[in-house]
Symmetry: D2
Subunit: 149 residues, 4 copies
């Protein structure tokens, strides 16, 4: 019995692993790659004390970084590099220190050169914290580099 | 001789100092508050190695965090708290480790309850790296808290 | 047997009818109100020759007008007036003269004073033509005016 | 004495005239092309009774159409076709029947394949009514078609 999705999923996993190994920001922020598939990624982050801004809420830049990272993994999941062109984000409710936030990125559109992704961030209660929508541009470069040459 | 702008500028400076003292993310990222005036803020950041993503460029989340922080200081500069509702950002060119980025936030609109801010980020060569536009909502709370009570 | 949603649906229908009667742009463009419920509206438009721009495709302004109208009806469906603060729209594929476009607006968030709506426009083949996301502000005025006073 | 900008301006004028002749929506809405130069366009519209929505204000779709048209002319002013990918618009104050609105589009960024434009709409009192920011994609086709073949 064969799984028709397996080859693409294997590529997505390999692309995700290669990208994750090089993404220093994701490591520094403690962002985890929980799931990846073609055009999809789920990533999570636990809000640290240093991620609070002057109103004692999780900084919008941290929430954007989580959403943007999820888009990066979803858009690179097909093995060719995409970079962000622009994005918009809506902050629906605050998040606080100690909360774990989960971001899911889904492909809304994909052509050879451009992509559009919707990312939702939810908290542990399942409430939506942010809606993010971003557009990417394909550079043509492979995500998995031949590091031996 | 009196300066008609001095009282507001003094309030802006005091509000900026109060907010900066509490903004743990700005400190962690090494964001500096270089100038603040009513409806205006200029802030800067030097890109660290850990701020690079998987394509070896400054992570979009870091650039967003810098722009969002500049908006926060500009929108809180009048002494009453504003929080971000939503924002959009365009990434025009990449930034790399070691570069210093300067963000300037200017008020495009302000009512009692809402604000709109344009933030540009430029690199040392004076080239625009990002355009950011965000909207804020006034909570009514004072920025400068009476910490003695 | 009682329907717990009936009262709200009746209000939504009444608010939709009142707003539609006054919306001269919707009439001029031939926009139809196909369905309305609390936080939801479905509206349609058939692309006329005069709605084409210089590249012989449906003008982006017409597509935005359809989406914006659907958001207006969804955001006014609870009986209190909301007006648009800002919106973003992605154009995924062109539409041509003679095509009927259907817009569905869904509430993504709602507080007393603000709302967020996602609107998708699809063509007769079921393909998504546009994604629209907009934010509204509640003025506090009733949608249904007492025209007798 | 030669004007180094004259050739480009002549191309911009010719491209603007060619596009305007084909833009049926601009004609229907009464949008005027007041000025065009490389990466720039100024266009105006007088708000008609039919352009009012259910709250008796100029419909957001009409304002978007004016801004989007100005971006189209600015982005096509270099002689190669660009189409809109996405845009965001902020509605700062209402406009009413009889008012003349002026939109100015300026190029914020331009590569071979993509462009970014800022458009402001002001009323007769010089007050800003809308801020619009859009991104375009170059199709490679010439704006001026050889209609004789």
């Amino acid at each position: 019995m064969t799984d028709p999705h397996a080859p693409d999923d294997a590529l997505a996993t390999a692309a995700g692993d290669a990208l994750y190994a090089r993404d220093r920001t994701a490591h520094h922020l403690g962002i985890r790659l929980d799931a990846i598939a073609p055009g999809y990624a789920r990533m999570s982050l636990t809000v640290q004390e240093w991620m609070l801004q002057g109103h004692d809420m999780c900084h919008g830049g941290i929430m954007f970084a989580l959403a943007d990272t999820a888009m990066a993994f979803a858009s690179n999941s097909r093995g060719t590099s995409h970079v962000a062109l622009n994005a918009n984000i809506d902050f629906l409710r605050p998040a606080f220190a100690g909360e774990t936030l989960v971001a899911e990125a889904r492909e809304g559109n994909r052509t050879r050169r451009t992509g559009m992704y919707d990312v939702s961030i939810v908290n542990a209660a399942g409430e939506t914290v942010c809606h993010f929508r971003g557009r990417t541009y394909g550079t043509g470069a492979p995500v998995i580099r031949d590091e031996t040459t």
